[in-house]
């Protein structure tokens, strides 16, 4: 009897749930802090906004790429960029993508002339279930990406199950239909031998969470070999080390011959 009633209630909730709330699996990031707070990871088939910290565009772009790598490895990743971004922020460098653990053959790059064509292309891509993840990168403030546009993307993502990441740099958060909103920046890495920069490390903070509690910060590190994030070990950051007393500027170094010429 109790089994029957529980089955009935389960069916009732299933029927009453809105059609768009399809149960797509989560994309586990691997960071225990973030996954616990998100209830298992980033929701696939939902829109996630990544706002780059000022001057941390490359860090945020790297985080977007790596999050998409945590998802379905067999399906392609489509990266939609604007021409201005290609010029201003640099091109995606295939060897660099490969060294982060991505397969460049799986990545399709789409460039749009302006924010509007980027959004139109993005709407087309997000609606296609054969795509694993899409990174949408309008350049600058991009007022075309308003509440309506983001709602449209979110609905299309909910239908197709595509992990949709909107990467914003140089923009202030505005109302949107995103499921989560993050602020992402690069963080000092754990040094390797001879004080060499280590694994890619990011500071992420969850600014907004549609179906949960927002407001936590985490520092995560990318483990390329495991293709997943992990919590970064806290390590000492010696910010503001005073420079040693004598510093040569290469521009200031002149050869003797040059001084001789000047004197003559």
């Amino acid at each position: 009897m109790s089994r029957e009633s529980s089955l009935l209630s389960a069916l009732r909730t299933q029927i009453s749930a809105p059609a768009e709330a399809h149960a797509w699996p989560f994309v586990a990031t691997g960071s225990s802090v973030a996954d616990a707070r998100l209830g298992g990871g980033l929701a696939r088939g939902a829109l996630h906004e990544l706002y780059a910290e000022e001057g941390h565009h490359a860090g945020a772009a790297g985080f977007a790429l790596l999050v998409s790598l945590c998802g379905d490895a067999a399906k392609p990743l489509i990266w939609v960029r604007e021409d201005k971004g290609e010029r201003g922020d640099g091109r995606l460098h295939a060897p660099g993508l490969a060294e982060l653990g991505a397969d460049p053959a799986r990545i399709i790059l789409v460039t749009g002339r302006d924010a509007l064509s980027v959004l139109r292309a993005a709407a087309e891509i997000v609606g296609c279930g054969a795509v694993g993840a899409v990174v949408i990168e309008p350049w600058g403030k991009a007022p075309a990406l308003d509440l309506t546009a983001s709602r449209r993307l979110a609905l299309a993502a909910a239908r197709s199950g595509v992990l949709t990441l909107v990467l914003r740099a140089g923009a202030t958060p505005s109302p949107s239909a995103a499921t989560t909103r993050w602020r992402v920046g690069a963080a000092p890495s754990g040094p390797l031998a001879a004080n060499a920069p280590g694994r890619p490390t990011f500071d992420i903070s969850l600014l907004r969470h549609r179906s949960g509690i927002a407001g936590f910060d985490a520092r995560v590190e990318w483990d390329r070999d495991a293709r997943s994030f992990r919590d970064a070990a806290p390590h000492r950051v010696d910010v503001g080390t005073p420079l040693p007393g004598r510093v040569f500027a290469p521009a200031a170094v002149r050869t003797v011959a040059e001084f001789g010429r000047r004197a003559a």
């Binding site: 772009a61 091109r91 060294e99 460049p104 399709i108 891509i125 296609c128 001879a194 004080n195 390329r224």
Partner: protein
Amino acid sequence: MRSSGGAPPDLPFALVETVRGGIRLAAVDARAQALGIVPGLTLADARARVPELASIEHRPGDDAALLDWLADACDRYSPSVACHPPQGLVLDITGCEHPYGGEAGLRDDLAGRLARRGLTARLACAATPDAALALACHATADIGALPVAALSVDGDTHQALRRAGLRTIGDLAARPRGPLAARFGEALPVLLARLLGEADPRIVPRRQPPAVQVEARFAEPVARTGFVLDTLDRLVGEAAVRLGEQGCGGRRFEAALFRSDGQVARLAVETGAPARDPAILARLFRERIDGLADPLDPGFGYDLIRLAVPVIEPLGVQQLRLDGGAVADAELAGLIDRLATRLGRTRVRRLHAGDSHIPEQAAFELPVGDPAPPSAWPPLEPGEPPLRPLHLFDTPQRIEVLAEVPDGPPRRFRWRRVQHDVIRSEGPERIAAQWWRRRDGKGLTRDYYRVEDARGRRFWLFRHGLYETEKADPDWYVHGLFA
């Protein structure tokens, strides 16, 4: 064929060009001709005779453009149209005349359209292109009555023919060919045969006739875009049936919308794989029309819509896999086609490995679907951080650097007006120019450093030139950004 566009309405006019420092008439209109003005006269002489003569500068480029435009418009009559510069068009209308009720009907239709555009033209139909051109040039309907000048022979032969008393083609046709060839050269009988229709030469059309072509003609021009789209959908369906019969799919589909005033709008869509699914193709055409920078201007309406499939490839019947794999592939291919149609092929790209140690040549992008050599990426060492940046600048950006020693790692640098203090660095990774560029001293060695600033941002910097051996005062650049 002469355009009266831009000329004063009822004054005689001439086109003038500068020849050897003098302004001479290149062409004159009928009114001027009636007044005794002929091409080749200087403008001053012509003005002395007819003071009100209007003159317009002769631009041969405009003539060629007009001829091209006319040839485009003539595509409605026949798929094979050839230009005969400077002022001729040849249409192969074999089998194309029945919609107009025969040759005369087609000719009337063409004459009417040209007259409506304010163009005067001489039209002639004949069995061979050479004969048609000759008849049109000399404004006659009888090949025998054509002067020998109708044969495109050189001046000497022409002179010789006149001296021999042979004035018309009829005179020549009556004579045996052997002696003609012996006396006037081998070329003459060949040209004569082509003129008389004994040989069957072909024209070289401007466009290759497509493998599959379907069209819809309207008694009244249609102007509604919705109707145009519906017609396209119907044509796509017909073309799909024809392709299916041949077991082929199209790679390129071209729609030509012929406006009743002669303007032709052409829309083309390409697919990454052979396709003949009407729904997909119709959607691509809608994408294409939506993506137009200038929307379609129907003017007074289209009276002919044609769909051509110039590139076809074999396409068997697709069998679906049980796990839906083929469906997913087709879905992705369809998405890429739609994006390429909307944005342009070159805007949807894949990344490939370039065979070079120079960072900016280590990878390249190609439109999806273009054949490329298989890419081999270097194997990854476990535990190593990434050694190549995620973003690479096309042009390395100059920075001001402070280093402890001139050939040491940077300690502080300024990029885009922001100061960065370096707290971790690794390097140098020395990347030399190719040996053939090293010899002339233009290809300098680059010393790359991976550096991290106090806020965790990671950069790829290089010093351009070895300190003191290659350059006294090497510059620094930022070439890429790490994640």
